[in-house]
């Protein structure tokens, strides 16, 4: 996580407020909102536990197979 240097002239109050405002914004923008991906929700004891982005999973598996094939080809 990289933050740009917060350059503020003034007292520490506005520095804090500015950081708080940023953190609140991040909390909304990074943790919530619509997601474009396939989805599976696996619930355990009525608690939603695992949400897996299907597109991510599928492309991982496909590419993994390709990686393995390439490896095999190299060793032959």
């Amino acid at each position: 996580m990289s933050f740009e240097q917060i350059i503020v002239s003034g007292n520490s109050d506005s520095l804090e407020e500015s950081e708080l405002s940023l953190l609140e914004t991040l909390d909304h923008v990074l943790n919530r909102g619509l997601v474009i991906a396939g989805e599976i929700t696996i619930a355990v004891a009525d608690i939603d536990l695992i949400f897996i982005g299907l597109n991510v999973m599928l492309s991982s598996v496909e590419t993994a197979q390709e990686v393995l094939r390439n490896r095999q080809a190299k060793t032959e």
């Binding site: 996580m1 109050d13 708080l20 953190l23 943790n31 536990l49 695992i50 991982s60 993994a64």
Partner: protein
């Protein structure tokens, strides 16, 4: 930012608290565990899969710990059983730490981003 009375609603979100410092401290922890780049087509496949697997194991490990504590509280374990259970869980924690290191993953990396639900751990 206050607007004139004609405008029915403020344009920017306002933040109101009497404890800015405390909230900054707490919210920083959340921000620290974020990835530095977001790519919905998984980046490094091998590491991505390792992350997924280790996150799930870590999650189960914590469930096992909770279960062990529950049994201990329930009073139906002998001191020997408690010791055995504790040792086993201790080794499991150490083993998982080893695996994380092997794959070059930090604690923060093992947190499955659950989209709408939040984080797994």
């Amino acid at each position: 930012m206050r607007l004139s009375p004609e405008t029915p609603r403020p344009a920017e979100p306002e933040i109101e608290t009497a404890h800015a410092e405390e909230f900054v401290e707490q919210l920083r922890c959340v921000a620290d565990s974020l990835p530095s780049r977001i790519n919905i087509d998984a980046q490094s496949v091998e590491q991505g899969l390792a992350k997924l697997v280790l996150t799930l194991i870590e999650f189960i490990r914590r469930l096992l710990e909770k279960q062990a504590v529950r049994r201990m509280e329930g009073g139906d374990l002998s001191p020997e059983q408690i010791e055995e259970l504790g040792l086993a869980l201790m080794h499991l924690e150490a083993k998982l730490q080893e695996l994380k290191t092997q794959f070059g993953l930090a604690d923060e990396d093992l947190n499955l981003d659950l989209g709408p639900i939040g984080r797994l751990i």
